[in-house]
């Protein structure tokens, strides 16, 4: 149980045939879809940076002790967004373990003293402040306009939303109130879910905060936990499940779009034309594609899809520790995605992850970027 080590993943790694299907997004259609899918490969071009076959090569090189860690290898490993775009294309038995292999390689790098200083800072911040931003825990409550002590739902706000995109929890709290959903939050006691730590190979600290979170959640006595952050949701519902935390199996985790889908009635039409960006953690990693779209439909919003949507969604560029360690690369990838959205002639980009909101905004788009909860709030 727990995270799989590289040695444990060896058999899966050898299921990669090195065929290269992972290199580009493609679907037959008709019409066919062809597009770049690997953000780092799209930038650096060398096969060592492109798709999951480069990661199977890296795993073989490390497992067989054929290549020493080099700066370029570390760059190839840590400029990956762990977005899963390559995984979605793969058809071999390596597929289910691709993301685990990338994360295990990062853990291996960290163990060998090859972690990035920016990532070490994230890890230290989480240890000291319980969030990756190094903000005081009390700041996690600053978005709150009133006390939340309901017993129906625990809203797991997440560090990015609470500390960097407070309009998202504000909108979410307002929606809960208007729908009569009694909720509470952990507030200053909420600890980083562990997602950034798992992705960057800082597993020892991750395990620590995961355990703390489960204890805090259990202390509330509430069974239904709702997250607006795609990363928190993926981590709580998928990564935590591989650990045997006592009482975890009694908890129910929902992304807000799952939770609200059937609770929202018909509303006044917002009369907007938007496109929807599938966050990697919510889409490919948790296979939640339709719930956000159903909500947008209920809001009377015309949805124009980007060519790369659902499983073929192009990462916003922030994930996998890239925004922390390679901010320019994160923005470059984001600009690519924003350009795709802008070409549709829509009024706004909508997504359902605060980290995506932040990075898409950082690309300075000509149209606004909304979290889906902002539009739900506007409709009520």
């Amino acid at each position: 149980m727990g995270f799989k080590t590289l040695e444990e993943l060896k058999d899966a790694v050898y299921m990669c045939t090195y065929c290269g299907t992972c290199k580009v997004a493609y679907s037959y259609g008709p019409p066919p879809l062809f597009a770049p899918i690997c953000p780092q490969g799209n930038t650096f071009k060398f096969d060592a940076f492109l798709g999951s076959r480069s990661k199977s090569a890296m795993a073989k090189a490390i497992l067989n002790k054929e290549v020493d860690w080099s700066d370029t290898m570390i760059k190839a490993l840590f400029t990956c967004n762990v977005c899963g775009g390559c995984e979605y294309q793969c058809q071999t038995d390596f597929k289910p373990e691709i993301l685990n292999t990338i994360e295990a390689l990062r853990y291996e790098a960290v163990k060998n003293g090859k972690s990035l200083k920016e990532h070490e800072r994230i890890s230290q911040n989480v240890l000291q402040f319980k969030n990756p931003y190094g903000e005081s825990p009390e700041k996690k409550e600053e978005w709150m306009v009133k006390k939340a002590d309901g017993r129906e739902v625990l809203y797991f706000v997440g560090c990015t939303a609470a500390l960097r995109e407070p309009h998202i929890p504000k909108a979410t709290a307002d929606v809960f109130d208007k729908l009569g959903i009694e909720f509470t939050v952990l507030g200053k006691d909420e600890v980083c879910c562990g997602s950034p730590l798992i992705r960057i190979g800082q597993w020892d600290v991750a395990e620590q905060v995961m355990g703390e979170n489960i204890d805090k959640i259990k202390e509330t006595g509430i069974k239904d936990v709702v997250a607006t952050c795609a990363g928190c949701y993926k981590t709580l519902s998928k990564d935590y499940a591989s650990f045997e935390f006592p009482g975890y199996d009694k908890l129910n985790f929902y992304h807000i779009t799952q939770f609200l889908k059937d609770r929202l009635g018909p509303s006044a039409s917002l009369g907007m034309k938007v496109t929807y960006h599938d966050p990697c953690h919510l889409g490919r990693h948790a296979e939640i594609y339709e719930e956000p779209r159903e909500i947008l439909n209920k809001l009377g919003i015309e949805l124009i899809e980007m060519p790369r949507n659902r499983g073929n969604s192009f990462c916003c560029g922030a994930g996998g520790g890239v925004k922390g360690a390679f901010p320019d690369l994160a923005i470059q990838t984001s600009k690519d995605r924003v350009k795709e959205a802008e070409s549709l002639g829509v009024e706004a980009i909508v997504t359902s992850c605060p980290f995506c909101v932040r990075n898409l905004q950082d690309a300075q788009p000509s149209i606004p970027v909304y979290d889906i909860m902002e539009l739900v709030q506007r409709s009520l």
């Binding site: 058999d11 050898y14 299921m15 990669c16 045939t17 090195y18 065929c19 290269g20 299907t21 992972c22 290199k23 580009v24 493609y26 679907s27 037959y28 259609g29 008709p30 019409p31 066919p32 879809l33 062809f34 071009k45 060398f46 096969d47 060592a48 076959r53 480069s54 090569a57 890296m58 073989k60 090189a61 067989n64 054929e66 290549v67 020493d68 080099s70 370029t72 290898m73 190839a76 294309q89 793969c90 058809q91 071999t92 038995d93």
Partner: protein, 486 residues
């Protein structure tokens, strides 16, 4: 050591630091790497071919950059290996003598799609996925192979790759209309109509110098633009499927039906290749299941055209049955039919049905063999493969009529075990000898195959090949050793 294998090959002597600097001068340091891990990712492919490390990887974007690199490489006497998707299964881009791998993926422009004249002009980095996407918008298609959608259209065509229109048009190399090549010495050459008038429509009626660069495995030059025939997407299609109890009956059926040249694709597969994935190691076929299955993809621009083709097929089938053949109609699962028509395909192209769980290895004895000799070759292959505990997962496909076609056995193996790699390699080479015995010739051949070819080849042919190679590549820097004659 790479993947458990020692670095082998007669590595040529040259000044690596100086060559690296000169490459950086041409391309900028962003597009040149001598990092060990970067080189490692270019050192092996899916096949049984032993991994070998290149020394430097370079990613040019323009013709001028490649010309400058080739001139420099000639001065320095450093090997250059052209590389696109790295998806072949013959080790064709694994450097025999070290050197520079020129990864051409940045050269990915579709230069022209001429709808009226039905040709397209592409650069080497254009993938099947990219071209399919662009052609579909104009109602056009090309011969999409059973390969990854990321594979290079150009590399497939110049290496005699096949597509899904082989029954109608032949090999993808037969769909070439013109060519732009950089010679090993750096000169730029245009061949076919592109070399005379600048129009890319045909290789005729000028001398066929394009042949100097087709099937030569990147040893005679770097093809930087290729004109190819594209055709309209028919409005109507059907997949006609049959089974047979033995390879003799299946071959006779295909020859009779193939005479009409009515199918876009006329292919049959053995029971083992019809399984997903191929059984690895070998497992026996159940007695109550046919040993051979065939699909014919027919298309038409009108219902009547399609119906006429279906009528020819029914006639062929009836005549075979009247002669006592075991061939009969057999309903394919819908998903299997889609895999034959919905190309390019990630599923069939990603080796999912070939090597999904075998352990990463996939190779083949891939040959062009006279169709009447398929039964003899298959029956001997079957004995070889079963003896080696491998599934005889064989495919036969007719090219443009009935005189010859593909005969190959997809062979998955476990790359974790050197003994299993050797077993697969030995089976494949043994099978290849059988194919050569009956008149077959391997395509995209790794060195092991070429050794067998040259044992039997006409001396005059081999000497001419040497002369051509020496003339074009006086310093033997283009993928040296890969064509074996030099």
């Amino acid at each position: 050591m790479i993947n458990g294998y020692p670095l082998s090959g007669d590595v040529m002597s040259w000044d690596k630091k100086r060559v690296y600097r000169r490459l950086v001068d041409i391309l900028g340091d962003e597009w040149v790497s001598d990092d060990e891990f970067v080189r490692y990712t270019y050192s092996y492919d899916m096949s049984f071919v032993d991994p070998k490390m290149p020394d430097i990887i370079a990613l040019p974007e323009t013709v001028e950059e490649i010309q400058a690199i080739m001139k420099m490489a000639n001065e320095e006497k450093v090997p250059v290996i052209p590389f696109t998707g790295g998806t072949n299964i013959g080790g064709l881009c694994i450097p025999e003598k070290g050197g520079i791998i020129l990864d051409l993926k940045r050269m990915n422009k579709i230069v022209e799609i001429n709808e009226e004249m039905r040709y397209a002009v592409i650069e080497p980095g254009v993938s099947h996925a990219q071209l399919a996407d662009a052609l579909y918008e104009k109602g056009l298609r090309f011969g999409w192979p059973v390969g990854p959608p990321s594979a290079s259209v150009l590399a497939c065509a110049i290496n005699h790759g096949i597509g899904h229109l082989t029954g109608r048009y032949g090999l993808n190399s037969q769909m070439i209309t013109s060519m732009e090549v950089i010679l090993p010495t750096g000169e730029l050459v245009r061949l076919g109509s592109a070399g005379i008038t600048g129009s890319w429509h045909s290789l005729y009626p000028v001398p066929r110098l394009d042949g100097l660069f087709i099937g030569t495995l990147g040893t005679t030059g770097i093809v930087t633009k290729l004109g190819i025939v594209v055709s309209g997407i028919p409005d109507y299609s059907d997949v006609l499927t049959v089974s047979a109890e033995n390879v003799e009956d299946m071959t006779n059926y295909m020859i009779r039906w193939g005479r009409y040249e009515a199918a876009d694709d006329l292919t049959a597969v053995s029971w083992w290749l019809a399984q997903i994935p191929i059984p690895y190691p070998y497992k026996p076929k159940p007695d109550d299941e046919p040993e051979w299955y065939s699909y014919s993809v027919i298309t038409g621009f009108t219902e009547k055209e399609l119906e006429a083709k279906r009528e020819m097929w029914e006639m062929s089938l009836k005549k075979e049955q009247e002669s006592g053949s075991s061939v009969k109609e057999y309903e394919y699962p819908e998903e299997a039919k889609k895999a034959r028509t919905q190309l390019p395909s990630q599923i069939v192209g990603s080796t999912k049905n070939y090597a999904k769980s075998a352990g990463g290895g996939i190779s083949w004895p891939g040959t062009f063999t006279p169709a009447p000799k398929w039964p003899e070759a298959y029956n001997r292959w079957k004995e070889i493969y079963i003896r080696r505990n491998l599934s005889p997962s064989v495919r036969i496909t007719l090219y443009r009529g009935t005189h010859y076609g593909m005969l190959r056995a997809m062979t998955p193996f476990d790359k974790r075990d050197p003994e299993k790699i050797k077993n697969a390699r030995d089976a494949i080479v043994e099978a290849l000898r059988v194919a050569l015995d009956v008149g077959g010739i391997p395509y995209k051949p790794p060195l092991e195959f070429q050794e067998e070819i040259y044992k039997r080849a006409d001396t005059g042919y081999v000497e001419l090949l040497k002369k051509v190679k020496d003339m074009l590549d006086p310093n033997n820097i283009m993928n040296p050793g890969k064509l074996l004659v030099r």
